[in-house]
């Protein structure tokens, strides 16, 4: 039976996150972008909202009451409405936790998932993207070569969030014989693991990301996510796409609301510019696209929760959100005109951030 209304618990979570996004995140977002650094206190407060533990079952220390993809996208949209870089920083541990939750062995789940249910945000991350304009997540150039009981990882990664402080990270690599992509858990300080320069990016500047070089890093075979069976990489990629798409909806909505309010108070030719159809109609189109994008994300997440194959739905949702978020944030800048281009106003930051959506999981359709 169709319903487009979140549950009461979800509504409460959305409201809690909204308060955080409005009162904490928005207050520091501009400065964090300018300084390329977010205050620890705000990140810690975001973590304490407990979104990730809410997706982890009780047996591993969390308090999930069922599948949580829908709850997850509701939370991510709301937080990203505040700021996408801050959201990504708060959410970085999920890059480690969710692959374990989706595809880890029982031992891996028992070992790692409780770490994410703590009040302190665990320094964990993942390395997927490689420095190549034609990077394809299905064919990473980073290789995993099997020996007796050990695996050697070699390759170059980039855009690895919070790598400098990470205690552990999941590295995605192609099996040197079969080409299959798996995730491998690599510990800080492993021989041959080198954390490189911080990346200089157009947007999400408050999130430090780094190059990571792996020169014959040797890990035990047990460190492969999913153990002998290997990693359900498709499920992880799909989930990641949906999560990133949810953030895209948040950014798009932020830009829409700001431009709408601005257009109502900005007077030119003696009237608020929102009373001009050229502006009003563009805002109407943006409103439609934001809602459509959200519904696409919701449906894909709902399918995850139903246990359905979501490759197509996730691809379509992500593609749609990319387009919608670019349209919404570009419209934000356009409607603010000259002010839209000035960094004092948030809309140009949202445009820079939205452009990254297509990059973050390496499948750029738009």
């Amino acid at each position: 039976m169709y319903s487009f209304t979140p549950t009461e618990e979800q509504q409460m979570l959305i409201e809690a996150i909204h308060r955080y996004a409005e009162n904490d995140v928005r207050k520091i977002a501009h400065e964090a972008d300018e300084n390329s650094e977010a205050p620890d206190a705000v990140i810690a407060k975001g973590w304490e909202l407990g979104v990730l533990p809410g997706l982890i079952p009780e047996e591993y220390g969390g308090y999930a009451e069922g599948p949580g993809a829908i709850t997850g996208v509701l939370a991510l949209e709301e937080m990203a409405w505040g700021d996408m870089a801050i959201t990504l920083k708060v959410w970085t541990p999920a890059l480690f936790a969710l692959p374990i939750l989706i595809s880890g062995t029982e031992e891996q789940k028992k070992q790692y998932l409780p770490l994410f249910c703590d009040i302190d945000r665990p320094p964990m991350t993942a390395a997927l993207i490689e420095p190549n304009p034609l990077f394809d997540p299905w064919r990473p150039a980073t290789t995993a070569t099997r020996h007796n009981g050990t695996i050697t990882l070699t390759g170059e990664k980039t855009y690895v969030p919070l790598a400098a402080e990470a205690e552990r990270l999941i590295v995605y690599a192609s099996d040197s014989e079969t080409g299959k992509v798996d995730g491998y858990i690599v510990e800080k300080g492993a021989e041959g693991l080198e954390i490189g320069e911080r990346n200089l990016l157009m947007g999400i500047r408050a999130l430090p990301t780094y190059d990571v070089r792996l020169s014959e890093v040797t890990v035990s075979a047990e460190n492969r996510v999913g153990g002998e069976e290997g990693t359900d990489y498709a499920a992880i990629l799909n989930r990641s796409r949906i999560a990133i798409a949810a953030m895209g909806v948040g950014v798009a909505r932020a830009s829409f609301e700001y431009a709408r309010d601005y257009a109502k108070q900005r007077v030119q030719f003696g009237v608020p510019i929102a009373t001009k159809q050229a502006i009003a109609f563009r805002l109407a189109d943006v409103a439609i696209e934001v809602d459509a994008a959200r519904l696409m994300v919701w449906e894909a997440a709902w399918k995850v929760d139903q246990g359905e194959d979501v490759t197509q739905a996730a691809t379509l949702a992500r593609h749609y959100v990319n387009k919608a978020a670019m349209f919404a944030t570009d419209s934000g800048v356009q409607i603010l005109g000259g002010y839209g281009y000035i960094r004092e106003y948030p809309v140009e930051r949202w445009l820079r951030n939205a452009r990254g959506l297509a990059t973050f999981d390496g499948l750029a359709l738009v």
Binding site: M1, W138, K264, D291, L316, L363
Partner: protein, 428 residues
Amino acid sequence: MIDFSLPEKLKPQLQMTEMVAKQMMRPKARYYDEHEHERPVEFIKFFWPIMAGMQKASLERARRKAEQAKTGEKPEKEKKGPSTYFIGLMHMVEILSWGDVGQYLIGMFGGLGATAVEAVGTLEQKERFLSRFADPKAEPAWGAMAMTEPGAGSDTSAISTTAVLDEETNEWVLNGEKIFCTNGGLALNESNGFVVVWATVDKSAGRAGMKPFVVEAGTPGVKVTKAEIKHGIRASDTVSIVLDNARIPYDNILGSPEVRKRDPKSTKGFKGAMKTFDASRPIVAATAIGVARAALELTKEKLAEAGITIRYDAPPDELTAIERDIIDMEAELRASWLLTLRAGSMMDYGEPNALESSMCKAKAGQSSTHICQKCVEILGPMGYSREWLIEKLMRDSKIADIYEGTHEINQLIVARRILGYSSRELPA
């Protein structure tokens, strides 16, 4: 709880609808496109009893409600949760339009005429006007709505058809010309139907003076003067109607005849008409989506025959232009459908949905038009050929971007709603 599952109980009904669309409508789609103004008799014969059955149930509900209102008895508490009527209807319309939207439009029978009576009519009027649509064994009948005039398109307040009360005979006398009336010929000339004609009782009152009147088949002075020849939906009956001193009983006015200027209540009749758009726009959106889905499916089918299948996980440097187009169109179509389902679902939950209705209509009308146009392009010489259905689907799709409020009118409605502006603050 957010849920995207189709209600179980609708499944058998929709399976049957799919069969009708596939086996009865689709094979005849080309024929009725090439033979404009010919009636799809097989479809009418098959579909009439089904629609009459639905109208019958609706009429019985109206009777029960009126009875309960009279005795003061509280309506039975609905323990089963929200209705699934509207969602079911939208799925059905989507599937029938996938079959052939031209024929589907004929199959509305009571259509917008009945909807207007249901929205604002008294029980007596419902009995008198709707019973003709509620007998599966009787001959089919059609209802229609006539608003548009040569000088009044999107600006409905500009209508110049007049209704004057002849106090001696207690009749309304109607004069004017209506155009683009869907199913008007069927309603007036080919069945015992009626047309709901919008006319003004006081031109100086603007919208407050606009009232709907039921004009039945056989009324002297009413003449169908033209059947339009159209770009698409050629099976659909679109006519002009001239009212020349057409006399109808006093009780054929829907809603109150009072005209009170500057009283917000007095535009109630007009607002009532606008409210029917909240229901009709998601339905038009559903027709658009059915047509576009047909085009997209046919295109994918033909591409598959040519050895091209769509990869959803190909890296961007390998993805072909066609794959990219198809993925883009599928996303657009899905997004349009989800907006439409939301607007329809809100009807079932009894929630106000004027904004969401206009959103889905604006989106679906435009995306479907673009999808169908793109499909013609992709299939090249065969897309453009009348041997295949793609070119017809393209012509059929365009109307959804125009009727029940053009794309721009719906944008205007969305804009006013999101900005909190009145029609004075954000003029048309």
